[in-house]
Symmetry: C2
Subunit: 248 residues, 2 copies
DNA sequence: CCCCGTCCTTGATCAAGATCAAACGGCACC
DNA sequence: GGTGCCGTTTGATCTTGATCAAGGACGGGG
């Protein structure tokens, strides 16, 4: 557990912003009550480590706000991000008490934590939760497989374009009604974290961002705010078949 | 569904070789009976496609014997394998009726298929099955994350060594009591399929196999049979921390 | 205001792996 | 016993992205 996490007061599940997408989305009143009993909120600042790989992890959690990353590090320092957790995503494995990956906050993050043991027990009793967790895990596996295609076969430019598309899709506050031409959003990651996500170096990320800007695919205001004047143009750069999975 | 799959007679679950590892591993007598009712066996020859991405898929299945692969293909033909299914692994997504990936037999394969609808229903009724499926899916997600590290950050030589280690671990008939020095096994994949797995070209795979042979890390008898005289040497080539996850 | 640190950009060079090309070995089939 | 095919090996060359190296932009603290 990180040194300087901040405990913050619980909010009611009923007024939770991620209520409709998280593990708890299918829960009915009494199930929510059970969850309320074992939950607590915790906040982390951008850059903080939430848990180190190998550490005991006595909770699982839902990301309420902000972005967290799972990364793996090799002995010689090579790093690969293997999970990017956006609001409503689930952290941790109910039946495992050691973290398998480093978990870090790439922006300020608030987690809704559930004590692990009671949560695991609850999984056995409330099929709604375990069914939802299975569904979310399968979705995550699909996302991991997209990501594998990106890592194994895409060019640097395609990787950047794909990454920006993903953020544009999930990052904007869902006001992008499929096919909206223009989208804008903030990058919740440094260039280095993007490189770790994409299997590139930070220099290559920077160069390709500049190239996409030069070519008018994106506009930058500051270093972290991205404007995509035309999503179709960006999607064309991803290497995925036109509008294939991205917009629909 | 493939053109020329072979229907073969059912065997009893009780005498099934993958009984102890598959989705059904936790089932008790009556649950097995329910499964028996909706299952049928199907065989495919090496190279055959089991389903194409986008095809209707009216079953889910366990791999009984042989090896199957999930692959994604880009418009211009670039291909990435995103799943390698060994005996006891699960194929398909219970609540999705279209295949998301091409599924092909990389060696002769026998599947134990369950009709999708009844299986999905059974998931809701028998928590043993859905719990086991969640566990298997989480394991697969972990494997996918290992794989992402491989694709994003490992050198060609490390990729090959890692791949061989994985096969050595799961491919041998579990007679390798952790840390056995010498291991041998057959490659169930062509060089091209290995390339698709590893995000390389088949030429690079071939060259690195030759290099590992030249360096005495492996011995080949024929092109498909691999002998690893000393697993520790192979593991040293994977880039993973010494004996870290592989042997223990 | 300046100093320093962090994050980012840009340039020059290098190397790993891709690409293009040829040929080999084993096997099935005539 | 050829002939042809498939999977594989090996060689020569090219390209992409890594690496090495400076310097710029921004922000916070003295």
């Amino acid at each position: 557990m990180s040194v300087s996490a901040t405990d913050i007061p619980n909010i009611k599940c009923s007024s939770c912003p991620i209520r409709h997408r998280a593990v708890c989305s299918r829960c009915e009143a009494e199930e929510l009550d059970a969850l309320e009993k074992i939950k607590y909120y915790k906040s982390f600042e951008a850059g903080q480590t939430i848990v180190w790989a190998g550490d005991k992890m006595d909770f699982v959690a839902s990301v309420v706000s902000g972005v967290a990353a799972l990364t793996q590090t090799m002995e010689d320092g090579r790093r690969q991000m293997v999970g990017l957790l956006l609001p409503s995503d689930f952290v941790g494995r109910p039946n495992r008490d050691e973290a398998a990956y480093d978990v870090t906050a790439t922006s300020d993050v608030t987690l809704c934590c559930f004590r692990r043991k009671p949560f695991h027990k609850l999984l056995e009793d409330t099929p709604h939760v375990s069914q939802r967790l299975l569904e979310m895990t399968l979705d995550e596996l699909d996302a991991a497989r997209e990501w594998m295609l990106l890592l194994g076969r895409k060019t640097a430019r395609e990787k950047i374009a794909s990454f920006l598309s993903i953020l544009a899709r999930r990052g904007t506050t869902e006001n992008n009604l499929a096919g909206l031409d223009s989208v804008e959003f903030d990058l919740p990651l440094t260039r280095e974290a993007m490189a770790d996500y994409l299997g590139l170096t930070l220099e290559t990320v920077s160069r390709q961002m500049s190239a996409l800007k030069r070519d008018g695919v994106i506009t930058l205001s500051g270093k972290r705010h991205v404007i995509v004047p035309d999503m179709h143009i960006l999607l064309n750069e991803t290497g995925d078949d036109a509008d294939g999975g991205m917009l629909v």
